[in-house]
Amino acid sequence: MAIETATQVSSPLAQADTASISGSKALLEALVAEGVETIFGYPGGAIMPIYDALYDYPDQLKHILVRHEQGGIHAAQGFARSSGKVGVVFATSGPGATNLVTGLADAMIDSTPLVAITGQVYAHLLGTDAFQETDVINITSPVTKWNYQITDATEIPSVLAKAFYIARSGRPGPVLIDITKNAQLQLFAYAGYQKCNHIRSYRPKPIIRKEYIEEAANLINAAEKPFVIFGQGVILGKAEKEFANFIEKGGLPAAWTILGLSALPTDHSLNMGMLGMHGNYGPNVLTNDCDVLIAVGMRFDDRVTGRLDKYAKQAKVIHLDIDPSEIDKNVKATVGVWGDCKETLPLLTQLIESKSRTAWIQRFKDHDAEENKEVIFSELHPDTPVMTMGEVIRNLNEISGGDAIIVTDVGQHQMVTCRYARFNQSNSNITSGGLGTMGFALPAAIGAKFGAPERTVVAVIGDGGVQMTLQELGTILQTEVNVKILILNNHFLGMVRQWQQLFHDKRYSFVDIASPDYVKLAEAYGIAGASIESRDQLNEALSAMYHHPGSYLLEVNVGKENNVFPMVPQGCSVSEIRLK
């Protein structure tokens, strides 16, 4: 193992020197020392000693029994994203562990800090195809920031310390620790828990190089049409304030990726909206018109850039990121500023001139007006008999005032919600951005509520996605967690249908999906609910959902064949964005 320096954490056990305890207990002590209070999980044979030890920790550790390990890990993700802490999930070996894979991949691509603990068969059975043995380490290597198998209990404290340090530092990500059953049972001389803050082979943060900050500032100061695009790095770095100061001083218009959403309040005068495939008109078109493009904590995903060889070719690019492998990966940076944006942004702000850039910002507003006329107005205030998703979100905004945590699933409703939902504070938009995992929203909303109990959590889900992780209604039933479930039912796998309509001659191949009676279903789980079809019920129904004392499921039947616009068709450049 790498050499680590450590800080002593005091715990009652740590003081009674070298008590003999089990590996399982050492694991739980590690969690307590790391400040973990909530665990999502599901037991099974290979993790039973840990669950047995958990029985003695009712006051320190709250365990949420989910209905499927995928639900457990998405809940841990939602928890991490609403709280800014590391999410923790337990699963047994074999199927329990493989059920985590989707969530790990999701957390990996969306940089979510997680520690997943999986049970494993006895060490002497490894490689024998024992009951419920899977090679979890190799299965999960490509989708974890780090993983490790423990076969000896003495390793538990130091490996857990490393796991938490790696998960939350640098560019965060999921870590999986696989613990064989013998190690969980093994008694060993426990010498206390020491937090890890250094691993010799791991550099989470670089020393910031002033000359690049200067170069970047010079480019910005000389720019006529600078444009800031930002991602989740601002939220993960807890740098919302630093970011706002930066754009305010420079008079810099800014637009977000869907993972950056909520880092800057919707109302902020420099918030120009959403980037990418279903983003706003101005941000997309003007990406190919700006002279300096300043990317902050984002990774130029193809859904953001469209066709790369026609992306911002006219612009000098400044890229601030904590992960050096992102700089120059997709878009060549004129100046790369490697570092934590919490540190780099203030340095940059110091060096940039105070400007207002009204004429340039007006160009965004002009595009906005056009988008409003062509798309937004009719989406938010439709004159069609059937409801649109946009008007549902507009009504929701009026009720939430922008204070809710909004969790979205994947599809049309996700794009519409991200486009139109209002946010006053950070860590409020939770969605599966990089992986686009249908079924994410319901369990993630449960986790988000545990991560931020004082806030109202609304899960906006499609009729397709909700049927992927429906079983988590059982978790709501049992924990009585208060989440609002808003199903936008278009009776289609809408996003796929939209593509079939636009790019496959309307050959609707297996996108017509039936739904159960959601209200009855909710009722079976002891959850209040309603279903509506007409506009005149909308405001009242949303308000009833929002203000209901407990969980509530509202199904809103919306137009079946509505499309999300604007759209940058795949293979087109961002400036070829279509308004209809």
């Binding site: 193992m1 790498a2 050499i3 320096t5 380490i137 190799n138 290597s141 490509p142 920031k145 780090w146 993983n147 490790y148 198998q149 790696i166 803050n197 250094h198 691993i199 010799r200 082979s201 791991y202 550099r203 670089p206 020393i207 190089r209 690049y212 992960d323 050096p324 492998s325 700089i327 120059d328 990966k329 790369g336 490697w338």
Partner: protein, 195 residues
């Protein structure tokens, strides 16, 4: 332009790291021409030597992805001019052929082959050199009943390297010197590695 690059990776000795490094290539459908793991000059530090045929830009990005792995201390890449490298090859030839045909013996000598084992039935020769040389010897031996042939992975020394001892000492510190975690990548967008 694609050419041969040798990637040298200094790592912790950690089970599972081989898979993590291998999948960085396989995920991108990049073929590893040769891969060697061995101890390095620094105690407790492993050294991977990986050969691929790719463009400089691709190799640079791969090196970044490798270095991103928690257990990797450093990744360097070099073209063939910047390294000294060798591969070992073994050839098993029927003894009868060698005894009878003077030509075979001469061929082996010409190619710098050395006998490692001599038995009644066969002789095992070894050569050390570059791939083209060993390939050529295989060709010329083929008509004489080459029984078995195997070639090792490449091992390479970077001409300009001062080794890893000092860097390692630095890595162990909680606050390493600027020089170590300097933004080499940004400094030399082309030539990433400064050793």
């Amino acid at each position: 332009m694609k050419q041969e690059y040798t990637i040298t990776v200094y790592t912790e000795n950690h089970i599972g790291l081989l898979v993590r490094i291998a999948t960085i290539f396989s995920r991108r459908k990049i073929n590893i021409e040769s891969l060697n793991t061995s101890p390095s000059e620094a105690e407790g530090i492993h050294r991977f030597t990986i050969v691929i045929d790719e463009t400089e830009e691709v190799v640079r990005k791969l090196a970044r992805q490798i270095e991103k792995q928690v257990e990797v201390l450093k990744a360097y890449y070099n073209n063939n001019e910047e390294i000294i490298w060798q591969e070992l090859a073994l050839y098993k030839v029927p003894t009868a052929q060698i005894a009878e045909k003077v030509k075979v013996e001469r061929l082996l000598r010409e190619h710098g082959a050395r006998a490692v084992v001599i038995r009644n039935d066969y002789v095992v020769f070894e050569t050390v050199g570059h791939r083209e040389e060993t390939d050529r010897l295989v060709e010329v031996l083929a008509p004489y009943g080459l029984i078995e042939f195997v070639r090792s992975a490449r091992v390479a020394i970077i001409k300009e390297s001062r080794g890893f001892h000092e860097k390692l000492r630095e890595f162990e510190l909680a606050e390493p010197k600027d020089e170590l975690i300097e933004n080499e990548f940004l400094n030399q967008q082309k030539e990433v590695f400064s050793m």
